[in-house]
Amino acid sequence: MEATSEQLLWMYEKMIEIREYEETMVKVYLEGKLPPKIQKGLAFDIGAGPVPGEMHLAAGQEPVAVGVCAHLRRDDTVVGAHRPHHFAIAKDVDLNAMTAEMYGKVTGLGRGKGGHMHLFDPAVKFSCGGIVGAGAPQACGAALAAKKRGTDQVAVAFFGEGAANQGAFHEALNLAALWKLPVIFIVEDNKYGISVEKSASTSIASNADRAVAYGMPGVLVEQNDAVAVFEAAGAAVARARRGEGPTLIEVKTDRYFGHFQGDPETYRPKDEAKALRQHDPIPALGALLRARDLLDDDADTTLRARVSERVGAAYDFGRNSPYPEPEDALLHVFAD
């Protein structure tokens, strides 16, 4: 399955949007968290600033998000994990509401209750969560619903290579294959689960080889490249829509920032992240577009301006929205 020009351009623009979103967040997140504004003696205060709490960024991992989501419709389900922005953006989650959520504002997707790890946008069937591996069975449920309805939606579960050692992974893959569910499992291998290297967590080199254990196709995408992901995902999504069952795909990708913001990253070589950026997938796709005459400097500038405006507007919306009332904490425990 080859990407159309439109799809290539869409992926390029979305990758830029994700990157800009994450790089903006690096700065916004730091606001208010450094001395001298914080408690004496601290180097950093995770609970301070306009966007408090944990923050897991996905810069470098854009290809897996756009390469998969390029095949998805609004009514297909995506379940992400604790590092969810790239998936959310690629799935067209409302960017303003998503950003407001991270600011803890009442205009946020979850009215400020969820925060960055817990983004829910039912309009595009996106959700994610902070428990490693937990999304895989949930995606099976959405796929089961489509199958029961007899409609052709698919569900995608995205998670890290670290999550592939969680029991939920195994149970979900068996269930999906057994019931021939239209679900695609995507493992983002960014080489680390926090500080633990894949070789110290996973008994084999590639999770794609675990597909055999369930009798489903397993595909390894060795390049952190949107087009390569697009091709692998295209086959898997088509297979799922045809009712032929699940696929497991592992994509080798790169994490440019720490596990979370504030991560001292002492566990990895000092220049590793810098070296990884030598293979940045965004300029790579840009070069391809240019080689195919789909992009020139002007178009690139226009596109980047458009993205900046979108991202900037989202951050402004988040920042300027009101907080919920404290007592709103009591609402929404139960639906009535």
């Binding site: 969820g114 829910f120 969560g129 937990a134 069975p137 449920g141 619903a145 149970e171």
Partner: protein
């Protein structure tokens, strides 16, 4: 309180009542389906799904692998996508292999989404001991489900209540955990307390959550209890009546929401409270009910301190004399009530 139209009733076991409630709701609502281990051909190890496979076929009555995290997660995903799953955890004792899906996701996603997403699903599960199934198959544990926010928790004591509460559970737009005690299901292979099998209307009806039921009125001592322990309490109350002690029994029926008013009303009347519980003693249900009294001693005129009967913080032992000792019995209830009568605080 309950909305019955057709007035035909039959005596049903609690298992039959649950399965009937499920079948009627499955007929009414094509989004409802059932999944779990051995719930199809076998009809459920505790017969809560007997007959459903024949009626509705394997697409709506799905036997699962022994993958509780897998299928509880799938229930969540299916509920998010418009279905209304009923998902059975065979014994509540197994919750530890899948509690993350239940309490971190199923229970919280509605809240974390600020109300944007709904997860209408029912988790059914068997609880309780008394038939020598030992430490990993005899627990109640309902207070753990009631402790974490976002789950409604239903613990019926008889067939009539079970049908109405199950119908409410399936229609509820929230996750509901429905815990049935094996020893009152009316199984043909386990001795049970007969009071649990009772008259049940054929027609559908609902019983609202958060309304305790006064099983027996009395003036001297209130027993707050639930599930199988209701029947032990009734037997104790009968003995005690012969001794001139008048016992009021309050069946909580649901732990979330909890009908605090009914408990307080009864204790306001009797001035004496015994909590009779089959869960572990500490940090659980019996503490919560006792705490309610401690929080209201300014308005209650207590004649005695509160007493709690529960499993004394030990795993459930296998051997008959040990298990009988561990789980409160009719005689223990009667003795506790008698001891409450020795106080005259006021």
């Amino acid at each position: 309180m309950s909305t019955t139209t057709n007035t035909t009733t039959r005596r049903l076991t609690m298992a039959q009542a649950i399965s009937e409630a499920t079948a009627q709701e499955m007929e009414r609502d094509p989004r409802v389906f059932v999944m779990g281990e051995d719930i199809g051909k076998y009809g459920g190890i505790f017969s809560a799904t007997t007959g459903l496979l024949d009626k509705f076929g394997p697409d709506r009555v799905m036997d699962t692998p022994i993958s509780e995290t897998g299928f509880m997660g799938a229930a969540l995903g299916a509920a998010a996508d418009g279905l209304r799953p009923i998902s059975e955890l065979m014994f509540v004792d197994f919750f530890g292999v899948c509690f993350d899906q239940i309490y971190n996701h199923i229970a919280k996603n509605h809240y974390m989404s600020g109300g944007a997403c709904k997860y209408p699903l029912v988790i059914t599960t068997g609880i309780g001991g008394g038939y020598n199934d030992a430490a990993q198959h005899s627990q109640c544990l309902y207070s753990i489900f009631a402790h974490v926010p976002g789950l409604k928790v239903v613990v019926p004591s008889n067939a009539y209540d079970a049908k109405g509460l199950m119908t409410s559970a399936i229609r509820d737009d929230n996750p509901v955990v429905f815990l049935y005690h094996k020893g009152i299901m009316g199984l043909s292979w386990m001795s049970y307390f007969e009071g649990s099998t009772n008259e049940v209307p054929e027609a559908q009806y609902t019983i609202p959550f958060g309304q305790a039921r006064v099983v027996r009125e009395g003036t001297d001592v209130t027993i707050v209890t639930l599930s199988q322990m209701v029947h032990k309490s009734v037997l104790a109350a009968e003995k005690l009546a012969a001794e001139g002690i008048s016992v009021e029994i309050v069946d909580l029926r649901t732990l979330v929401p909890l009908d605090r008013a009914s408990v307080l009303d009864s204790v306001a009347k009797t001035g004496r409270l015994l909590v009779a519980d089959e869960d572990y003693l500490s940090y659980g249900l019996s503490g919560e009910i006792a705490a309610l009294i401690a929080e209201n001693i300014d308005t209650l005129r207590l004649k005695a301190p509160v007493r709690r009967l529960a499993v004394p913080d030990i795993p459930i032992p296998f051997s008959r004399p040990l298990e009988q000792f561990a789980i409160p019995q009719v005689d223990n209830i009667a003795a506790s009530v008698r001891s409450l009568m020795t106080f005259k605080l006021d």
